[in-house]
């Protein structure tokens, strides 16, 4: 996003492409009837991309990008619902509200990724596999091609570094 703001067209295109899957799942969970209206979802995704592009002046570089993105996506969704309110039964709102947890999960995943970047790759992968993807120690060790005890030590050391970093307030 930042390179895009400086006028780097390629970085901008890469950002927009990366947003497409995120926005698709964002809308798929929220648009009433989900998968039946792929065209509607694609329209919403495209409208959001256009807004991200043409209203990028409104992004504050010091703030989290995802919060800005989802604020735009949510506005587009509400605007869309309002436009066809005549046809939308009210109880569909419930589906939208229920899906709210998705945004937090995405945010948390992106934050986690950034946090894990401070660790050596081996420790980061060990933590990601066992604690987030939920593999067993044996499976994770197998996929990283290290011994089970080595994996456990990596997880332990990585977590200790993270805890120290978080306590340190960074």
């Amino acid at each position: 996003m930042l390179s895009g703001l400086e006028g780097d067209g390629q970085a901008h295109a890469a950002l927009l492409s990366a947003l497409v899957p995120i926005l698709r799942s964002f809308y798929r969970r929220r648009v009433p009837g989900g998968g039946d209206f792929l065209d509607d979802i694609e329209d919403l995704v495209q409208e959001t991309l256009i807004a991200v592009h043409s209203r990028r002046d409104s992004y504050d570089r010091t703030r989290p990008f995802t919060v800005w993105l989802f604020a735009i996506a949510r506005y587009k969704l509400i605007d869309n619902l309002r436009r066809c309110r005549a046809m939308e039964p009210v109880e569909d709102l419930l589906d939208i509200l229920v899906a709210e947890g998705f945004e937090d999960a995405t945010l948390a995943r992106m934050d986690l990724k950034r946090l894990l970047e401070i660790l050596p790759a081996k420790q980061a992968k060990a933590i990601w596999d066992t604690k987030i993807d939920g593999l067993s120690v044996a499976e994770a060790a197998n996929s990283s091609r290290i011994s089970a005890s080595d994996l456990k030590i990596s997880v332990h050391r990585g977590l200790r570094t993270l805890v120290a970093r978080i306590r340190g307030g960074q």
């Binding site: 703001l5 006028g7 991309l49």
Partner: protein
């Protein structure tokens, strides 16, 4: 899907750099552009008060100007905060209370110094019936400048953003009107100038719901 990729390719062909304080810049340009037209309108319709030279040495002229300018700057900050989609509340709004309270203090001091029988002329002056409407009229070009600025913004609270933009336009239009208006008393400015700005804010809230959609 094919169409989305095509769209991204088109969008990426037109990537102009964005300044780091783009919102502030655009609002300032919108106000200056609209303000220039308002100033021409003021000169054409009302003219500038002939005794402006003497007024510049006058305490009441500066009180009035400081009042409208500080409200104009404060309302600009509120508007800028509402231009971002991730801001739900109007930040800085409480700051606008400060100039109002200060002017109220000055107004009370003024009234304490004149006999009761003069209070009405102090309050109504000679132009109370037209003053708020003139400020509202002069705010229109500035509000149009704000609408232009908002074309790149992403407000999510449209009536609130419209009200903030209207108040900004009203405050700067009141500043310009101060170049013509010869009313001196603080209580007059507090009532009728403020009323003009509030009318602009109200109209802005009403128009914002439609015109600020994106």
């Amino acid at each position: 899907m094919r169409r989305t990729e095509e769209l991204i390719r088109q969008l990426a062909m037109d990537v102009k750099p964005v300044r780091s304080h783009a919102i502030g810049w655009r609002i300032a340009v919108g106000i200056l552009g609209g303000g220039a037209i308002s100033l021409l309108l003021l000169i054409a319709v009302f003219g500038i008060r002939p005794d402006l030279h003497e007024a510049l040495r006058d305490f009441s002229f500066w009180v009035r100007s400081l009042y409208t300018v500080s409200l104009g700057i404060g309302a600009m900050f509120v508007t800028a905060s509402l231009a971002r989609p991730d801001n739900v509340r109007a930040h800085w709004l409480w700051l606008l209370v400060v100039p109002v309270l200060l002017l109220t203090g000055i107004g009370i001091g003024e009234m304490a110094n004149v006999p009761l029988s003069n209070w009405q002329s102090l309050w109504l002056g000679r132009s109370w019936k037209v003053c708020p409407w003139r400020i509202l009229m002069l705010s229109a070009p500035i509000f149009a400048g704000m609408l232009w600025a908002f074309r790149r913004f992403a407000p999510t609270r449209l009536p609130l953003a419209g009200a903030a933009a209207g108040l900004t336009a009203g405050a700067w239009s009141a500043t310009l009107y101060g170049l013509y208006c010869q009313e001196e008393s603080a209580i007059f400015v507090l009532t009728w100038f403020t009323l003009g700005m509030l009318l602009a804010a109200l109209l802005g809230a009403f128009l914002g719901r439609r015109l600020l959609r994106w």
